[in-house]
């Protein structure tokens, strides 16, 4: 079975994001790039499934070919067999639907039967691409999965639906599964595997290689301006007896914070 994993490379979680001078993006110099952590859960689940069922794990990314550094360290060194990166100048301005079209075309061209990915990327947190990929492939999609098993033709997935409630979904492959924290613990990449990953195959493709053109990924959504959230103001300490403080608190919540 060919198992696909959609992977995005994102700034490390403890990066302090700075807006670029023109306000149209973020300052990328000095950022440490990593495989988006939820995608790492997807990679681990794919590798565990491959270990149980056989087949191969293929990584798919839509982004600069330089991402192969992270794909090797965070994917090919922990059990994925090879990677496909679609790198095309037209990708720069696209939106989640454009990315989903590219990934779906890549997955279809390889004939995958099962796709994992993170529930969301940790940079723009759109939570859109996985559902779009599934729709474009005509596959079902189970999101926020915390437990997964398959016998190679059917699957059982447990998903969090909020409030502590869990839903168990069963169905037939193919399917797109998105990983929630808790699905597994990603393994460490050991040095021999890191060395071996250097020689694993990373195909860099253009849109044309997947029979797509720039027109296919024309964005419906354009990002025009970035701004940081306002700095959190210092806390305020209320004084006086309890009655005075409660009155003042209620007034502030009503008049300033406008939450009651």
């Amino acid at each position: 079975m060919k198992i696909g994993v959609c992977v995005k490379v994102a700034p490390d979680t403890d990066t302090r994001i700075k807006i670029s001078g023109d306000g149209a993006g973020i300052e990328e110099s000095g950022i440490k790039w990593i495989v988006s952590p939820y995608d790492s859960f997807g990679i681990e689940e794919a590798v565990q499934t491959q270990e149980a069922q056989g087949g191969e794990v293929i990584l798919f990314s839509a982004g600069p070919k330089d991402w192969q550094t992270q794909l090797r360290a965070g994917g090919l060194a922990v059990g994925a067999e090879r990677a496909v990166i679609v790198d095309d100048p037209a990708l720069a301005g696209t939106d989640p639907l454009g990315i989903a079209r590219v990934l779906a075309a890549g997955i279809a061209s390889e004939g995958c039967e099962l796709v994992f990915t993170g529930k969301q990327a940790i940079d723009d947190d759109n939570v859109q691409v996985p559902a779009m990929v599934a729709e474009l492939l005509g596959w079902p999609h189970v999101s926020f999965v915390t437990d997964f098993s398959t016998d190679g033709s059917t699957f059982t997935a447990t998903r969090n639906v909020g409030g502590g409630t869990q839903e168990v979904v069963t169905g037939s492959l193919p399917v797109v599964i998105t990983a929630e924290r808790g699905l597994n613990t990603p393994r460490y990449a050991k040095l021999p595997a890191i060395m071996k990953a250097k020689r694993k195959k990373v195909d860099v493709k253009s849109l044309g290689d997947l029979d797509l053109s720039a027109d296919d990924i024309t964005p419906a959504v354009q990002l025009t301006n970035f701004s940081l959230p306002p700095e959190r103001p210092a806390g305020r300490k209320l004084e006086g007896d309890v009655d005075t403080m409660v009155q003042e608190l209620v007034r502030l919540l009503r008049e300033e914070a406008k939450v009651i």
């Binding site: 990593i34 060194a77 460490y188 040095l191 890191i194 250097k198």
Partner: protein, 383 residues
């Protein structure tokens, strides 16, 4: 701090391994570091976890369970583990890197399989026993005697200051089998539980609290012939072979502690206020930090240069002895200043800089004293 200055020493595999070590340090060591240091031990299971993560022995042969890497892979892992706040745990995990090399260089395939592989799997703990109550740097003065008796050797004597000695399962012991000061020395592996072998004392130390340090006694301790490592008389040369690497790793220990103490100090100086502003705005603190950073960078430059030579299979004497002495001095000075910047807080056991300042005291002593290093440097220079 800026890392690009030294980037050329490392390739993608070193950088990728550093990320793995950083994650291990963050998830498996940092949350427990203070508790382990206070308790004076860390769980044995950390050896197993480190082995499973591929971080126990990056430069050991892959066939025996190591990572198959070079000394720079050891360097990046050591740096990350040391930063986590429990020097004791980091050096405890590291005792195999001095205990196993004699077996690797002199042992039979069978001995490597029996003694090295279980340690690299994290199932057993290895320790090196050279120093004795009466002899340290003067290795030729070793008195622990191994007398041949049929298909056994009988060991009598004592060893002390043995890192991981209290709970070690396999002790690589340097013993005297002949009268020649150097050519009369031979390594033996003594397994825990061998009659006549005892941990006579667990020693309490200035630093490295989470690692166990032992005094060991051997009294009519019978060791089978197949526990002798190499032919009789081969011990001293085998010990010497690993000296450069041991000293390199102690130099790394020095700059890693110093750099971590510098980072803690910078963060503290930004947050701690005095006279109405963060103390980091005062020139006296800023200049202190500048000097600390300069010292750390100089130690890294010298140590990395030696490591790169060694990774390329070349010798680094006497520069690596200079690296050890320099890093030890830098660690002492920078950790001292880090405590100073922290003020009263820096004297409290809950801060890492307090711990590191104690830990750093070992560096001009362990693995060959500062004075012995100077002697070797002078000899290397032809002085």
């Amino acid at each position: 701090m800026r890392t690009s200055l030294f980037r050329h020493h490392f390739d993608e595999s070193h950088r990728a391994l550093r990320e793995e070590a950083r994650r291990f340090a963050r998830e498996e060591i940092a949350p427990h570091a203070t508790a382990w240091e206070e308790a004076g031990e860390f769980p044995r299971s950390l050896h197993l976890k480190a082995a499973q993560a591929g971080l126990l022995a990056p430069s050991f042969p892959e066939a025996l369970g190591g990572g198959g890497g070079d000394v720079l892979h050891d360097v990046v892992v050591a740096e990350e583990l040391l930063r986590a706040g429990s020097t004791g745990a980091a050096v405890g995990l590291g005792s195999l890197s001095i205990a196993l090399p004699p077996i690797l260089s002199l042992g039979t395939e069978d001995q490597k399989e029996r003694f090295v592989a279980p340690v690299l799997r994290g199932e057993k703990i290895a320790a090196l026993a050279v120093t004795e109550p009466g002899t340290g740097s003067d290795v030729a003065g070793i008195r622990l005697k191994a007398r041949r008796d049929g298909d056994h050797y009988v060991l009598d004597g004592a060893k002390t200051f043995i890192t991981s000695g209290v709970r070690g399962d396999l002790i690589t012991v340097l013993a005297r089998t002949g009268d020649d000061p150097h050519a009369g020395l031979t390594f033996f592996v003594v397994q825990r539980g061998t009659p006549g072998f005892e941990v006579s004392r667990a020693l309490r130390k200035t630093g490295w609290w989470a690692s166990d340090t032992a005094e060991l006694s051997f009294s009519g301790c019978r060791v089978p012939l197949d526990h002798r490592i190499g032919p009789e008389g081969s011990g001293f040369v085998a010990l010497m072979q690993n000296f450069e690497r041991e000293r390199l790793m102690l130099a790394v220990n020095g700059h890693a502690l110093a750099e971590a103490a510098l980072d803690e100090s910078m963060a503290y100086a930004k947050q701690r206020e005095a006279f109405g502003r963060p103390i980091g705005r005062f020139q006296v603190i800023r200049h202190k930090i500048a000097e600390m950073a300069t010292a750390v960078t100089s130690a890294k430059a010298l140590t990395y240069a030696c490591a790169a030579r060694m990774a390329a299979g070349k010798g680094a004497s006497p520069e690596v002895f200079m690296a050890k002495n320099h890093a030890a001095m830098v660690a002492r000075e920078v950790c001292w200043q880090a405590v100073q910047i922290h003020g009263g807080m820096g004297y409290m056991r809950e801060t890492k800089v307090e711990r590191w300042a104690r830990d750093a005291r070992l560096l001009p002593i362990g693995g060959g004293t500062q004075e012995i290093m100077n002697e070797l440097i002078a000899r290397g220079l032809g002085a």
